[in-house]
Protein backbone atom coordinates (compact mmCIF):
# COMPACT_ATOMS: atom_id res chain seq x y z
CA UNK A 1 0.00 0.00 0.00
CA UNK A 2 1.17 3.49 -0.80
CA UNK A 3 0.54 6.82 0.87
CA UNK A 4 0.48 9.73 -1.55
CA UNK A 5 0.63 13.39 -0.59
CA UNK A 6 0.26 15.83 -3.45
CA UNK A 7 0.82 19.52 -2.74
CA UNK A 8 -0.60 19.07 0.74
CA UNK A 9 -0.82 22.13 2.98
CA UNK A 10 -2.44 22.57 6.33
CA UNK A 11 -2.92 25.81 8.16
CA UNK A 12 -4.58 26.93 11.38
CA UNK A 13 -5.88 30.45 10.87
CA UNK A 14 -2.85 32.43 9.78
CA UNK A 15 -0.34 29.83 10.95
CA UNK A 16 0.94 27.42 8.33
CA UNK A 17 1.77 24.04 9.86
CA UNK A 18 2.46 22.13 6.65
CA UNK A 19 3.40 23.89 3.46
CA UNK A 20 2.95 22.32 0.01
CA UNK A 21 4.37 18.87 0.68
CA UNK A 22 4.48 16.23 -2.01
CA UNK A 23 5.73 12.77 -1.13
CA UNK A 24 5.05 9.15 -1.80
CA UNK A 25 5.56 6.61 0.94
CA UNK A 26 5.70 2.99 -0.10
CA UNK A 27 6.44 -0.34 1.61
CA UNK A 28 9.39 -0.38 4.00
CA UNK A 29 10.32 1.81 6.93
CA UNK A 30 10.07 5.56 6.47
CA UNK A 31 11.09 8.00 9.17
CA UNK A 32 9.46 11.41 9.34
CA UNK A 33 12.12 13.57 10.96
CA UNK A 34 12.17 17.14 12.10
CA UNK A 35 12.56 19.35 15.13
CA UNK A 36 9.66 19.97 17.49
CA UNK A 37 7.02 22.13 15.84
CA UNK A 38 8.16 21.21 12.33
CA UNK A 39 4.77 19.82 11.34
CA UNK A 40 5.46 16.08 11.69
CA UNK A 41 2.44 15.41 13.88
CA UNK A 42 0.23 17.40 11.54
CA UNK A 43 1.39 15.23 8.63
CA UNK A 44 0.87 12.06 10.68
CA UNK A 45 -2.63 13.18 11.69
CA UNK A 46 -3.52 13.92 8.08
CA UNK A 47 -2.24 10.54 6.89
CA UNK A 48 -4.14 8.85 9.74
CA UNK A 49 -7.39 10.52 8.72
CA UNK A 50 -7.67 12.72 11.79
CA UNK A 51 -7.09 16.01 10.02
CA UNK A 52 -8.17 17.17 6.55
CA UNK A 53 -5.58 18.94 4.39
CA UNK A 54 -6.42 22.61 3.90
CA UNK A 55 -5.20 22.21 0.34
CA UNK A 56 -3.86 19.38 -1.78
CA UNK A 57 -4.68 15.73 -1.91
CA UNK A 58 -3.80 12.88 0.43
CA UNK A 59 -4.72 9.34 -0.53
CA UNK A 60 -3.99 5.81 0.53
CA UNK A 61 -3.89 3.35 -2.28
CA UNK A 62 -5.68 0.09 -1.85
CA UNK A 63 -7.87 0.38 1.26
CA UNK A 64 -10.13 -2.62 1.44
CA UNK A 65 -8.04 -4.33 -1.20
CA UNK A 66 -9.68 -2.35 -3.98
CA UNK A 67 -6.44 -0.97 -5.31
CA UNK A 68 -8.05 2.43 -5.73
CA UNK A 69 -6.69 5.55 -4.12
CA UNK A 70 -8.96 6.71 -1.31
CA UNK A 71 -8.69 9.62 1.09
CA UNK A 72 -8.20 8.75 4.74
CA UNK A 73 -10.26 11.73 5.98
CA UNK A 74 -13.81 10.75 6.98
CA UNK A 75 -13.19 7.22 5.76
CA UNK A 76 -13.14 4.74 8.69
CA UNK A 77 -12.82 1.83 6.23
CA UNK A 78 -9.10 2.63 5.82
CA UNK A 79 -8.49 1.43 9.38
CA UNK A 80 -8.98 -2.15 8.22
CA UNK A 81 -5.56 -1.74 6.59
CA UNK A 82 -4.04 0.98 8.75
CA UNK A 83 -2.82 0.82 12.34
CA UNK A 84 -2.18 4.00 14.31
CA UNK A 85 -0.03 4.56 17.39
CA UNK A 86 -0.81 8.09 18.56
CA UNK A 87 1.79 10.15 20.37
CA UNK A 88 -0.44 11.12 23.26
CA UNK A 89 0.01 8.82 26.22
CA UNK A 90 -3.70 8.22 26.69
CA UNK A 91 -5.02 4.71 26.78
CA UNK A 92 -7.89 3.09 28.65
CA UNK A 93 -5.93 2.91 31.90
CA UNK A 94 -8.74 1.05 33.70
CA UNK A 95 -8.36 -1.95 31.38
CA UNK A 96 -5.63 -4.57 31.51
CA UNK A 97 -3.27 -4.73 28.57
CA UNK A 98 -4.93 -7.93 27.38
CA UNK A 99 -8.43 -6.42 27.66
CA UNK A 100 -7.35 -3.35 25.73
CA UNK A 101 -5.81 -5.28 22.85
CA UNK A 102 -8.67 -7.80 22.74
CA UNK A 103 -11.24 -4.98 22.71
CA UNK A 104 -9.37 -3.42 19.79
CA UNK A 105 -9.45 -6.79 18.00
CA UNK A 106 -13.22 -6.96 18.58
CA UNK A 107 -13.65 -3.44 17.21
CA UNK A 108 -11.87 -4.65 14.08
CA UNK A 109 -14.34 -7.56 13.99
CA UNK A 110 -11.56 -10.14 13.83
CA UNK A 111 -12.76 -13.78 13.78
CA UNK A 112 -10.72 -14.76 16.84
CA UNK A 113 -10.04 -11.62 18.89
CA UNK A 114 -8.40 -13.44 21.80
CA UNK A 115 -5.89 -15.23 19.58
CA UNK A 116 -5.11 -12.06 17.62
CA UNK A 117 -4.58 -10.16 20.87
CA UNK A 118 -2.31 -12.86 22.29
CA UNK A 119 -0.24 -12.82 19.10
CA UNK A 120 0.13 -9.02 19.11
CA UNK A 121 0.97 -8.94 22.81
CA UNK A 122 3.62 -11.63 22.34
CA UNK A 123 5.10 -9.71 19.41
CA UNK A 124 5.61 -6.71 21.67
CA UNK A 125 7.02 -8.87 24.47
CA UNK A 126 4.21 -7.81 26.82
CA UNK A 127 2.80 -11.21 27.78
CA UNK A 128 4.10 -11.02 31.35
CA UNK A 129 2.31 -7.72 32.02
CA UNK A 130 -0.81 -8.38 29.93
CA UNK A 131 -3.06 -9.10 32.92
CA UNK A 132 -2.07 -5.92 34.74
CA UNK A 133 -4.07 -2.73 34.48
CA UNK A 134 -2.56 -0.25 32.05
CA UNK A 135 -2.65 2.34 34.84
CA UNK A 136 0.24 0.45 36.46
CA UNK A 137 2.40 0.45 33.30
CA UNK A 138 5.50 2.54 32.77
CA UNK A 139 5.47 4.96 29.84
CA UNK A 140 7.48 2.53 27.73
CA UNK A 141 5.07 -0.30 28.48
CA UNK A 142 2.11 1.89 27.57
CA UNK A 143 3.80 2.68 24.32
CA UNK A 144 4.28 -1.00 23.58
CA UNK A 145 0.69 -1.95 24.42
CA UNK A 146 -0.46 0.83 22.08
CA UNK A 147 1.68 -0.70 19.34
CA UNK A 148 0.25 -4.14 20.13
CA UNK A 149 -3.29 -2.74 19.74
CA UNK A 150 -2.31 -1.06 16.47
CA UNK A 151 -0.87 -4.33 15.15
CA UNK A 152 -3.67 -6.62 16.29
CA UNK A 153 -5.46 -6.61 12.93
CA UNK A 154 -2.23 -7.17 10.99
CA UNK A 155 -2.35 -3.83 9.13
CA UNK A 156 -0.54 -3.16 5.88
CA UNK A 157 0.24 0.39 6.99
CA UNK A 158 1.47 1.22 10.48
CA UNK A 159 1.70 4.85 11.55
CA UNK A 160 3.64 5.63 14.72
CA UNK A 161 3.84 9.16 16.12
CA UNK A 162 7.03 9.51 18.19
CA UNK A 163 7.02 5.79 19.09
CA UNK A 164 10.30 5.80 21.02
CA UNK A 165 9.18 8.38 23.59
CA UNK A 166 9.51 7.05 27.12
CA UNK A 167 11.25 3.83 26.10
CA UNK A 168 14.46 2.68 27.71
CA UNK A 169 17.39 1.72 25.41
CA UNK A 170 16.53 -1.99 25.43
CA UNK A 171 12.89 -1.28 24.58
CA UNK A 172 13.96 1.11 21.83
CA UNK A 173 16.20 -1.52 20.33
CA UNK A 174 13.40 -4.05 20.44
CA UNK A 175 10.98 -1.61 18.83
CA UNK A 176 13.48 -0.72 16.12
CA UNK A 177 14.02 -4.39 15.33
CA UNK A 178 10.27 -4.93 15.21
CA UNK A 179 9.72 -2.00 12.84
CA UNK A 180 12.58 -3.23 10.67
CA UNK A 181 11.03 -6.70 10.55
CA UNK A 182 7.56 -5.34 9.74
CA UNK A 183 9.04 -3.18 7.01
CA UNK A 184 10.96 -6.06 5.49
CA UNK A 185 7.71 -8.04 5.34
CA UNK A 186 6.42 -5.52 2.82
CA UNK A 187 4.37 -3.33 5.13
CA UNK A 188 4.43 0.43 4.96
CA UNK A 189 5.81 1.67 8.26
CA UNK A 190 5.86 5.40 8.93
CA UNK A 191 7.18 6.81 12.17
CA UNK A 192 7.94 10.34 13.29
CA UNK A 193 10.83 11.37 15.47
CA UNK A 194 12.72 14.50 16.40
CA UNK A 195 15.83 12.57 17.43
CA UNK A 196 18.13 11.69 14.55
CA UNK A 197 19.98 8.95 16.38
CA UNK A 198 16.72 7.05 16.89
CA UNK A 199 16.59 6.14 13.24
CA UNK A 200 20.21 5.10 12.84
CA UNK A 201 19.40 1.44 13.27
CA UNK A 202 16.45 1.57 10.93
CA UNK A 203 17.07 1.05 7.28
CA UNK A 204 14.92 2.74 4.69
CA UNK A 205 14.11 6.27 3.71
CA UNK A 206 13.56 9.42 5.67
CA UNK A 207 11.57 12.53 5.03
CA UNK A 208 13.03 15.53 6.82
CA UNK A 209 10.48 18.21 7.64
CA UNK A 210 11.55 21.68 8.76
CA UNK A 211 9.15 24.55 9.39
CA UNK A 212 6.33 22.75 7.62
CA UNK A 213 8.33 22.08 4.45
CA UNK A 214 9.98 18.96 3.13
CA UNK A 215 13.69 19.71 3.60
CA UNK A 216 15.28 16.44 2.57
CA UNK A 217 14.03 13.17 1.29
CA UNK A 218 15.70 9.90 0.46
CA UNK A 219 17.99 7.21 1.76
CA UNK A 220 18.82 7.66 5.41
CA UNK A 221 22.51 6.78 5.06
CA UNK A 222 23.07 9.41 2.36
CA UNK A 223 21.43 12.08 4.48
CA UNK A 224 23.33 10.89 7.53
CA UNK A 225 26.62 11.27 5.64
CA UNK A 226 25.59 14.76 4.70
CA UNK A 227 24.92 15.53 8.34
CA UNK A 228 28.14 14.09 9.75
CA UNK A 229 30.32 15.84 7.19
CA UNK A 230 28.80 19.23 7.83
CA UNK A 231 31.12 21.81 9.45
CA UNK A 232 30.88 22.11 13.21
CA UNK A 233 31.49 25.46 14.84
CA UNK A 234 33.30 25.82 18.17
CA UNK A 235 33.82 28.86 20.32
CA UNK A 236 37.26 28.64 22.00
CA UNK A 237 38.68 30.94 24.68
CA UNK A 238 42.25 30.47 25.88
CA UNK A 239 45.21 32.24 27.50
CA UNK A 240 46.58 33.06 23.99
CA UNK A 241 43.88 33.01 21.32
CA UNK A 242 46.11 34.37 18.55
CA UNK A 243 48.78 31.69 19.04
CA UNK A 244 46.18 28.91 19.36
CA UNK A 245 44.44 30.12 16.21
CA UNK A 246 47.69 29.96 14.25
CA UNK A 247 48.31 26.41 15.43
CA UNK A 248 44.77 25.22 14.75
CA UNK A 249 44.64 26.53 11.17
CA UNK A 250 47.43 24.12 10.33
CA UNK A 251 45.40 21.09 11.30
CA UNK A 252 43.67 19.18 8.47
CA UNK A 253 40.31 18.89 10.27
CA UNK A 254 40.06 22.66 10.76
CA UNK A 255 38.47 24.56 7.89
CA UNK A 256 38.52 28.11 9.23
CA UNK A 257 39.54 30.11 12.28
CA UNK A 258 38.26 33.56 13.11
CA UNK A 259 39.69 35.72 15.86
CA UNK A 260 36.93 37.65 17.59
CA UNK A 261 36.67 39.77 20.72
CA UNK A 262 35.14 36.80 22.53
CA UNK A 263 37.80 34.32 21.48
CA UNK A 264 38.15 32.03 18.47
CA UNK A 265 35.40 30.80 16.17
CA UNK A 266 36.71 27.52 14.75
CA UNK A 267 34.98 25.60 11.94
CA UNK A 268 35.88 21.94 11.68
CA UNK A 269 34.67 19.05 9.55
CA UNK A 270 35.62 16.41 12.12
CA UNK A 271 33.99 16.87 15.48
CA UNK A 272 35.86 14.05 17.29
CA UNK A 273 39.32 14.77 15.84
CA UNK A 274 39.07 18.45 16.73
CA UNK A 275 38.09 17.71 20.33
CA UNK A 276 41.08 15.37 20.72
CA UNK A 277 43.55 17.64 18.92
CA UNK A 278 42.84 20.89 20.68
CA UNK A 279 43.63 19.53 24.13
CA UNK A 280 46.97 18.04 23.00
CA UNK A 281 47.98 21.15 21.04
CA UNK A 282 47.18 23.48 23.92
CA UNK A 283 49.22 21.40 26.33
CA UNK A 284 52.19 21.14 23.93
CA UNK A 285 52.25 24.93 23.48
CA UNK A 286 51.57 25.77 27.13
CA UNK A 287 48.25 27.43 26.29
CA UNK A 288 45.54 27.31 28.92
CA UNK A 289 42.11 26.46 27.54
CA UNK A 290 39.36 28.42 29.27
CA UNK A 291 36.38 27.39 27.16
CA UNK A 292 35.70 24.99 24.27
CA UNK A 293 32.05 25.28 23.34
CA UNK A 294 30.24 23.64 20.40
CA UNK A 295 28.27 26.59 19.05
CA UNK A 296 25.67 25.00 16.81
CA UNK A 297 24.92 21.49 17.96
CA UNK A 298 21.21 22.06 18.40
CA UNK A 299 18.94 19.87 16.33
CA UNK A 300 17.54 22.92 14.62
CA UNK A 301 20.99 23.83 13.31
CA UNK A 302 21.43 20.33 11.93
CA UNK A 303 18.12 20.57 10.11
CA UNK A 304 18.92 24.10 8.99
CA UNK A 305 22.12 22.76 7.46
CA UNK A 306 20.16 20.09 5.64
CA UNK A 307 17.77 22.68 4.29
CA UNK A 308 20.67 24.77 3.05
CA UNK A 309 22.25 21.70 1.46
Amino acid sequence: MTIELRNVSRWYGNVVAVNDITMSIGPGVTGLLGPNGAGKSTIMHMIAGFLPPSRGELTITGPGGTGEAAPSWRNPAVYRRVGLVPERDSVYAFLTGEQFVTATARLHELPDPAAAAARAIATLDMADAADRKIATYSKGMRQRIKVAAALVHDPEILLLDEPFNGMDPRQRLHMMELLDKLGSEGRTIVFSSHILEEVERLSGTIQVVVAGRLAASGDFRAIRRLMTSRPHVFTVRSSDDRLLGGILIGRPAVRAVELTRNGLQVRTSDYGAFCRDIAVLARDHSIRLREVLPADESLESVFAYLVAS
Binding site: S41, L84, A150
Partner: protein, 267 residues
Protein backbone atom coordinates in the same frame (compact mmCIF):
# COMPACT_ATOMS: atom_id res chain seq x y z
CA UNK B 1 -30.99 1.14 16.21
CA UNK B 2 -29.93 -2.31 17.42
CA UNK B 3 -27.73 -2.66 14.32
CA UNK B 4 -25.90 0.43 15.44
CA UNK B 5 -25.24 -0.93 18.92
CA UNK B 6 -21.66 -2.10 19.39
CA UNK B 7 -21.22 -4.25 22.51
CA UNK B 8 -17.47 -3.62 22.74
CA UNK B 9 -17.95 0.14 22.62
CA UNK B 10 -20.69 -0.23 25.24
CA UNK B 11 -18.44 -2.33 27.49
CA UNK B 12 -15.58 0.17 27.27
CA UNK B 13 -17.99 3.05 27.88
CA UNK B 14 -19.55 1.50 30.98
CA UNK B 15 -16.12 0.63 32.39
CA UNK B 16 -14.79 4.12 31.62
CA UNK B 17 -17.82 5.97 32.99
CA UNK B 18 -18.12 4.04 36.23
CA UNK B 19 -14.39 3.95 36.90
CA UNK B 20 -14.03 7.71 36.96
CA UNK B 21 -14.27 9.67 40.20
CA UNK B 22 -17.01 11.68 38.54
CA UNK B 23 -19.20 8.57 38.88
CA UNK B 24 -19.60 9.42 42.56
CA UNK B 25 -21.53 12.51 41.49
CA UNK B 26 -24.13 10.46 39.66
CA UNK B 27 -25.94 9.44 42.81
CA UNK B 28 -25.74 12.81 44.55
CA UNK B 29 -28.77 14.57 42.98
CA UNK B 30 -30.83 11.39 43.39
CA UNK B 31 -29.88 11.11 47.04
CA UNK B 32 -30.85 14.74 47.60
CA UNK B 33 -34.24 14.20 45.94
CA UNK B 34 -35.04 11.12 48.02
CA UNK B 35 -33.87 12.71 51.27
CA UNK B 36 -35.84 15.85 50.48
CA UNK B 37 -38.94 13.78 49.74
CA UNK B 38 -38.61 11.79 52.96
CA UNK B 39 -38.16 15.01 54.95
CA UNK B 40 -41.24 16.61 53.37
CA UNK B 41 -43.29 13.47 53.79
CA UNK B 42 -42.45 13.45 57.48
CA UNK B 43 -43.31 17.09 58.00
CA UNK B 44 -46.17 17.98 55.60
CA UNK B 45 -49.83 16.97 55.25
CA UNK B 46 -50.30 14.33 52.52
CA UNK B 47 -53.10 16.21 50.71
CA UNK B 48 -50.95 19.26 49.98
CA UNK B 49 -49.68 19.38 46.37
CA UNK B 50 -45.97 19.30 47.24
CA UNK B 51 -45.16 15.88 45.67
CA UNK B 52 -46.02 17.14 42.18
CA UNK B 53 -44.10 20.38 42.73
CA UNK B 54 -41.02 18.75 44.18
CA UNK B 55 -40.90 15.76 41.86
CA UNK B 56 -42.02 17.71 38.82
CA UNK B 57 -40.11 20.97 39.13
CA UNK B 58 -37.06 19.81 41.07
CA UNK B 59 -36.98 16.32 39.60
CA UNK B 60 -37.45 17.26 35.95
CA UNK B 61 -35.74 20.66 35.92
CA UNK B 62 -32.81 19.95 38.24
CA UNK B 63 -32.24 16.28 39.12
CA UNK B 64 -32.70 14.82 35.66
CA UNK B 65 -30.78 17.42 33.64
CA UNK B 66 -27.88 17.54 36.10
CA UNK B 67 -27.51 13.76 36.21
CA UNK B 68 -27.87 13.53 32.44
CA UNK B 69 -25.36 16.36 32.06
CA UNK B 70 -22.71 14.56 34.12
CA UNK B 71 -23.27 11.21 32.43
CA UNK B 72 -24.09 12.41 28.92
CA UNK B 73 -20.98 14.55 28.67
CA UNK B 74 -18.80 11.82 30.25
CA UNK B 75 -19.45 8.91 27.92
CA UNK B 76 -17.78 10.54 24.94
CA UNK B 77 -16.50 13.89 26.15
CA UNK B 78 -14.11 12.44 28.73
CA UNK B 79 -12.47 10.24 26.08
CA UNK B 80 -12.20 13.21 23.74
CA UNK B 81 -10.64 15.29 26.52
CA UNK B 82 -7.97 12.74 27.44
CA UNK B 83 -7.34 11.62 23.86
CA UNK B 84 -8.21 7.96 24.37
CA UNK B 85 -11.02 8.30 21.82
CA UNK B 86 -8.36 7.93 19.11
CA UNK B 87 -8.02 4.23 19.93
CA UNK B 88 -11.73 3.82 19.26
CA UNK B 89 -11.87 6.00 16.17
CA UNK B 90 -8.80 4.37 14.58
CA UNK B 91 -10.94 1.30 13.92
CA UNK B 92 -13.51 0.68 11.18
CA UNK B 93 -16.42 1.05 13.62
CA UNK B 94 -18.97 3.44 12.13
CA UNK B 95 -19.15 6.82 13.84
CA UNK B 96 -22.93 6.47 14.00
CA UNK B 97 -22.40 3.22 15.89
CA UNK B 98 -20.07 4.93 18.37
CA UNK B 99 -22.55 7.75 18.98
CA UNK B 100 -25.65 5.55 19.25
CA UNK B 101 -23.94 3.04 21.55
CA UNK B 102 -22.62 5.71 23.86
CA UNK B 103 -26.01 7.43 23.81
CA UNK B 104 -27.75 4.19 24.83
CA UNK B 105 -25.25 3.58 27.64
CA UNK B 106 -25.62 7.14 28.90
CA UNK B 107 -29.41 6.90 28.74
CA UNK B 108 -29.40 3.60 30.64
CA UNK B 109 -27.14 4.96 33.35
CA UNK B 110 -29.19 8.14 33.65
CA UNK B 111 -32.37 6.11 33.97
CA UNK B 112 -30.70 4.15 36.74
CA UNK B 113 -29.38 7.19 38.59
CA UNK B 114 -32.25 9.65 37.93
CA UNK B 115 -35.46 8.06 36.64
CA UNK B 116 -35.49 5.20 39.14
CA UNK B 117 -34.84 7.57 42.09
CA UNK B 118 -37.66 9.75 40.73
CA UNK B 119 -39.95 6.70 40.85
CA UNK B 120 -38.79 5.80 44.36
CA UNK B 121 -39.29 9.38 45.56
CA UNK B 122 -42.74 9.49 43.96
CA UNK B 123 -43.76 6.26 45.67
CA UNK B 124 -42.49 7.62 49.00
CA UNK B 125 -44.33 10.91 48.48
CA UNK B 126 -47.72 9.35 47.77
CA UNK B 127 -50.56 11.12 45.91
CA UNK B 128 -50.72 14.44 44.12
CA UNK B 129 -53.51 16.75 43.05
CA UNK B 130 -55.57 16.41 39.88
CA UNK B 131 -57.79 18.97 38.15
CA UNK B 132 -61.47 18.12 38.12
CA UNK B 133 -61.97 19.22 34.52
CA UNK B 134 -59.61 19.40 31.55
CA UNK B 135 -55.93 18.35 31.52
CA UNK B 136 -53.28 20.92 30.93
CA UNK B 137 -53.21 22.33 27.40
CA UNK B 138 -50.31 23.60 25.33
CA UNK B 139 -50.84 27.13 26.50
CA UNK B 140 -52.01 26.41 29.97
CA UNK B 141 -50.28 28.18 32.77
CA UNK B 142 -49.63 26.89 36.24
CA UNK B 143 -52.28 27.37 38.84
CA UNK B 144 -55.25 27.84 36.50
CA UNK B 145 -57.01 24.71 37.69
CA UNK B 146 -59.42 25.02 40.52
CA UNK B 147 -60.72 22.46 42.94
CA UNK B 148 -57.92 19.90 43.09
CA UNK B 149 -58.80 16.33 43.89
CA UNK B 150 -56.46 13.66 45.11
CA UNK B 151 -54.91 11.21 42.64
CA UNK B 152 -53.34 7.97 43.69
CA UNK B 153 -49.66 7.85 44.61
CA UNK B 154 -48.88 4.98 42.27
CA UNK B 155 -50.50 6.72 39.30
CA UNK B 156 -48.45 9.86 39.88
CA UNK B 157 -45.34 7.78 40.42
CA UNK B 158 -45.78 5.91 37.14
CA UNK B 159 -46.54 9.12 35.28
CA UNK B 160 -43.42 10.77 36.67
CA UNK B 161 -41.35 7.69 35.92
CA UNK B 162 -42.44 7.55 32.28
CA UNK B 163 -41.84 11.29 31.91
CA UNK B 164 -38.42 10.88 33.51
CA UNK B 165 -37.53 8.05 31.13
CA UNK B 166 -38.38 10.32 28.21
CA UNK B 167 -36.27 13.11 29.70
CA UNK B 168 -33.31 10.74 30.09
CA UNK B 169 -33.45 9.93 26.38
CA UNK B 170 -33.71 13.53 25.18
CA UNK B 171 -31.26 15.10 27.64
CA UNK B 172 -28.58 12.53 26.87
CA UNK B 173 -28.87 13.08 23.13
CA UNK B 174 -28.43 16.83 23.70
CA UNK B 175 -25.54 16.53 26.15
CA UNK B 176 -23.71 13.89 24.13
CA UNK B 177 -23.89 16.14 21.10
CA UNK B 178 -22.64 19.02 23.25
CA UNK B 179 -19.62 16.96 24.38
CA UNK B 180 -18.57 16.41 20.76
CA UNK B 181 -19.24 20.01 19.80
CA UNK B 182 -17.27 21.72 22.55
CA UNK B 183 -14.56 20.96 25.07
CA UNK B 184 -16.53 23.04 27.60
CA UNK B 185 -19.60 20.83 27.47
CA UNK B 186 -20.12 20.76 31.25
CA UNK B 187 -20.05 24.55 31.53
CA UNK B 188 -22.27 25.09 28.50
CA UNK B 189 -24.64 22.36 29.66
CA UNK B 190 -24.84 23.77 33.16
CA UNK B 191 -25.64 27.19 31.77
CA UNK B 192 -28.33 25.67 29.57
CA UNK B 193 -29.90 23.79 32.49
CA UNK B 194 -29.88 26.73 34.88
CA UNK B 195 -30.88 29.48 32.46
CA UNK B 196 -33.09 27.65 29.99
CA UNK B 197 -34.60 24.71 31.83
CA UNK B 198 -34.82 26.07 35.38
CA UNK B 199 -35.39 29.77 34.79
CA UNK B 200 -36.87 30.55 31.38
CA UNK B 201 -38.89 27.36 30.80
CA UNK B 202 -40.62 27.70 34.14
CA UNK B 203 -41.50 31.36 33.78
CA UNK B 204 -41.84 32.01 30.03
CA UNK B 205 -44.56 29.84 28.52
CA UNK B 206 -43.31 30.12 24.91
CA UNK B 207 -39.93 28.62 25.86
CA UNK B 208 -41.59 25.36 26.90
CA UNK B 209 -41.86 24.25 23.29
CA UNK B 210 -38.08 23.93 23.33
CA UNK B 211 -37.70 22.69 26.89
CA UNK B 212 -36.74 19.07 27.53
CA UNK B 213 -38.07 19.13 31.09
CA UNK B 214 -41.46 20.23 29.78
CA UNK B 215 -41.48 17.39 27.26
CA UNK B 216 -41.06 15.07 30.25
CA UNK B 217 -43.69 16.88 32.28
CA UNK B 218 -46.09 16.78 29.33
CA UNK B 219 -45.65 13.02 29.02
CA UNK B 220 -45.93 12.54 32.81
CA UNK B 221 -49.10 14.63 32.82
CA UNK B 222 -50.54 12.39 30.13
CA UNK B 223 -50.28 9.42 32.47
CA UNK B 224 -51.23 11.14 35.72
CA UNK B 225 -53.08 14.33 34.97
CA UNK B 226 -51.95 16.64 37.74
CA UNK B 227 -52.26 20.43 37.71
CA UNK B 228 -49.37 20.83 40.11
CA UNK B 229 -46.98 19.25 37.57
CA UNK B 230 -47.28 22.52 35.66
CA UNK B 231 -47.10 20.74 32.33
CA UNK B 232 -47.19 23.30 29.57
CA UNK B 233 -47.36 20.88 26.63
CA UNK B 234 -49.67 18.08 25.57
CA UNK B 235 -48.44 14.50 25.38
CA UNK B 236 -48.47 14.52 21.58
CA UNK B 237 -46.51 17.75 21.32
CA UNK B 238 -44.03 16.50 23.92
CA UNK B 239 -43.46 13.20 22.14
CA UNK B 240 -43.07 14.76 18.70
CA UNK B 241 -40.77 17.55 19.89
CA UNK B 242 -38.76 15.13 22.01
CA UNK B 243 -38.26 12.79 19.06
CA UNK B 244 -37.19 15.66 16.79
CA UNK B 245 -34.70 17.05 19.32
CA UNK B 246 -33.25 13.58 20.01
CA UNK B 247 -32.85 12.70 16.35
CA UNK B 248 -31.39 16.09 15.46
CA UNK B 249 -28.90 16.01 18.35
CA UNK B 250 -27.72 12.49 17.50
CA UNK B 251 -27.40 13.27 13.79
CA UNK B 252 -25.33 16.34 14.61
CA UNK B 253 -23.17 14.33 17.03
CA UNK B 254 -22.46 11.71 14.33
CA UNK B 255 -21.51 14.41 11.86
CA UNK B 256 -19.24 16.16 14.36
CA UNK B 257 -17.56 12.91 15.40
CA UNK B 258 -16.97 12.00 11.75
CA UNK B 259 -14.98 15.21 11.47
CA UNK B 260 -13.09 14.68 14.71
CA UNK B 261 -9.59 16.11 14.39
CA UNK B 262 -6.33 15.79 16.21
CA UNK B 263 -4.47 19.06 16.35
CA UNK B 264 -0.81 19.05 15.35
CA UNK B 265 1.70 21.61 16.48
CA UNK B 266 1.92 24.61 14.15
CA UNK B 267 5.36 25.36 12.76
Amino acid sequence: MSGLFNPTVAWITVRATLSRKRALLFALPAAILILFTVALKASRAPMRPWPSHVLGTFGFSVLLPLTALIIGTSVLGAEIDDGSIVHLLATPVRRSSVVVTKFLVATGLTMLFAAVPELIAALIAGGGTAPPTAPAGTTGSPGTFAGPVAISGSKLAIGLFVGALACCVIYNAVFLMLSVATTRAIAVGLLYVLVWEVLLANFVSGVRLLSVSHYGLGIANGFASDSALQAGLTVLTSVIMGAIVTAAALALAVNLLSSFTLKGEPA
